[in-house]
Symmetry: C2
Subunit: 388 residues, 2 copies
């Protein structure tokens, strides 16, 4: 097993993230950022816990115009937050249905509201509001004069480009994912319920060093699978099946996200052809990416190869996406996304196509964009559809 | 291994849930419910996928005043949704940053808005808005006249009381959790980094039949641990440690949520006393619960026992909570919660206390409330702090 990187980040990384945010906030006239979601709170504080699984308690981080962020959190998180670089930690005894942090937030925001100032909140694409909507409305009603701007672009611009320490974590979990997929021919057998293969895959990923496997989907069916988001069934693997596993495993809070396809016993010709087409689409995508290219152009490069075979628009919406603390992040390798690809973005290339009677196939690799082109984080899929 | 129940639910269960919601909607003058969150969409449709891990795409389910719910979802989910009892499935090619389902929702809601009608949305405690806030604001701006009420109470009342099929799933995953905890004395050893014990626990839970272990936290330290939401460190287990693991494992989308405490090599007296106090607090809680009791009264029963020892208010906010499709659900076994406990509620009892220099201890059991009292779903913790 390869050496794991250090867990966590040095304080300088959080200071740098905060300074860069504050520079953009100054440019946009924002007196603060109010962050509610796990990746954003973690990005600026280092606060890392699975406790977000519980929907009961909201957690808030306020990034002021100057100085360190301020944590406004349930008392149960104070001990862990004190281990981070955050100094100003304000807590309440949660859950408290009537005032779950609202008066603490109001204290911070009232001076800004009185001055007619603006704060940023994430309101844009791929975000959500992780606090009760009714509480959010009540918070604003109590702060007349406060302007609320959408800070999605600001946060997105920072988070899309990864630091070397983030890339090391992503490379580590991608290597664990690759070593796990390499075991699939040993883990899978004819007659095995797909559910059992999934369970064996999860156990293997943990044995190879993953912290968790929050995401594992896939499919298996004769001559090709039909959807890619189902939980596994008890249907046994059968000769002639095409089986696909797509995993998001994590290490220290960073995801890999890629899949592998296998044929059970024998591979039919249409599936071989689909595999070959997608392999070449990925290859074209890998060869084409350079800093300065737009996501749209990158999409078109892969789309041209897929078009050789796709019979139904391959409507999974996009051919790749950003990767980091979330399984899927901005940008999208899609026709609608004109984001300019930058050095140190970590992306998935995920071409897919539809073929013959509702079958689909998806390929996926994880890459980091460097000045001289793409470095693969996942071990490249086999050139031809592997038969197991 | 005990026989697993059937996966999924018969269509009659979804029909019954929908009818009961519609009856309450009629009482409250609601022309529909707009649901955005995974448990709610699953509760009324049966749509079950890990794809919610990806924050990119919103998913909508609209429960009309009469008839089956309507799914408004990304095309990538259509094949899976067609396997549920839902018939009216409207899709768009997501992601689509400018109109991610908004015009499809507007079509459904416009007639209600024109009539000055009201819909329900989850806006209350323990809920969140799983769509971009900016999109939600835009949706409402395009529907002048539409009233939006908070439907948290309505949904909460339904989801808090479990069906027999739900209880069977919860019993199954609790049994898996109990069998996994029974292996901890074999899995743990002096000198083992806590991280490795966590990994071994996850692998064991999978081997015992869990689908996933989305939640596993805990702590270990000399004479007691200090916080209960941290990820595990590389610190090796040492004689004199008290180690606690708290797991939320899942089967078919339902959670167990309980913990176990162990002493490594030897147990110090304060930790033995804390354990004894919490065991008796739990026992008092188990003995007291009956349909008709309020959560507040139940809280007070356990609190009285804890008060024998707690030195710092044991501020984890509550002494238990609902359990189901989420790790933590309504109600709260807390001083603020006047919910009347009903037959077939599934609850955790989770007394905790602080003792000596910032140490805390937490106990937890999972129960179902029946007409004649409590049935345990987790295997009752050992009477005395186990030494491993």
């Amino acid at each position: 097993m390869s050496e794991a990187p250090e867990r966590g980040f040095p304080e300088a990384e959080f200071a740098s993230r905060t300074e860069r945010a504050q520079k953009r906030m100054a440019d946009q006239g924002l007196a603060g950022l109010l962050l509610l979601t796990e990746p954003e709170v973690r990005y600026f504080s280092g606060f890392h816990t699975l406790f977000w699984q519980s929907p009961t308690r909201p957690w808030f981080l306020f990034v002021p115009a100057e100085g360190k962020p301020i944590a406004v959190i349930p008392e149960i998180g104070a001990a862990l937050m004190r281990k981070t670089w955050i100094e100003d930690i304000r807590t309440w005894s949660a859950p408290a249905p009537e005032d779950d942090g609202l008066s603490l937030l109001t204290e911070i925001l009232a001076p800004i509201a009185r001055g007619g100032g603006a704060i940023g909140v994430l309101k844009g694409h791929e975000t959500s509001l992780r606090m009760p909507l009714g509480h959010y409305e009540r918070l604003l009603a109590g702060l007349p004069g406060l302007k609320v701007a959408d800070a999605t672009g600001l946060v997105r611009a920072l988070r899309m480009v990864k630091s070397e320490a983030e890339i090391a974590k992503l490379a580590h979990i991608c290597a664990i994912g690759s070593r796990t997929f390499a075991e699939v021919p040993q883990l899978a057998y004819e007659g095995q319920p797909l559910e059992d293969l999934f369970r064996a895959f999860r156990r293997e990923a943990l044995a190879k060093g993953a912290d968790d496997i929050p995401y594992l989907v896939g499919g298996a069916d004769q001559g090709g699978y039909h959807d890619v988001i189902s939980p596994p069934s008890r249907r046994p693997l059968t000769a002639g099946d095409i089986v696909m596993l797509d995993t998001g495993a994590t290490w220290d809070g960073y995801f890999c996200d890629f899949d592998r396809n296998f044929a059970v016993g024998r591979a039919d010709d249409p599936s071989r052809r689909a595999y070959d087409t997608l392999w070449r689409a990925t290859e074209a995508g890998i060869a084409a990416v350079r800093p300065g290219m737009t996501c749209r152009n990158h999409f078109q490069v892969m789309r041209r190869v897929i078009a050789e075979m796709d019979d139904q628009g391959g409507d999974v919406g996009r051919l790749g996406h950003g990767l980091g603390m979330q399984l899927t992040e901005w940008p999208s390798i899609a026709d609608f996304d004109e984001t300019v690809i930058e050095e140190n973005m970590v992306l998935t290339l995920e071409p897919s196509l539809g073929y013959g009677n509702g079958r689909i196939m998806v390929h996926e690799e994880n890459i980091v964009v460097r000045a001289d082109g793409v470095h693969l984080l996942s071990k490249r899929a086999a050139r031809e559809l592997p038969v197991i």
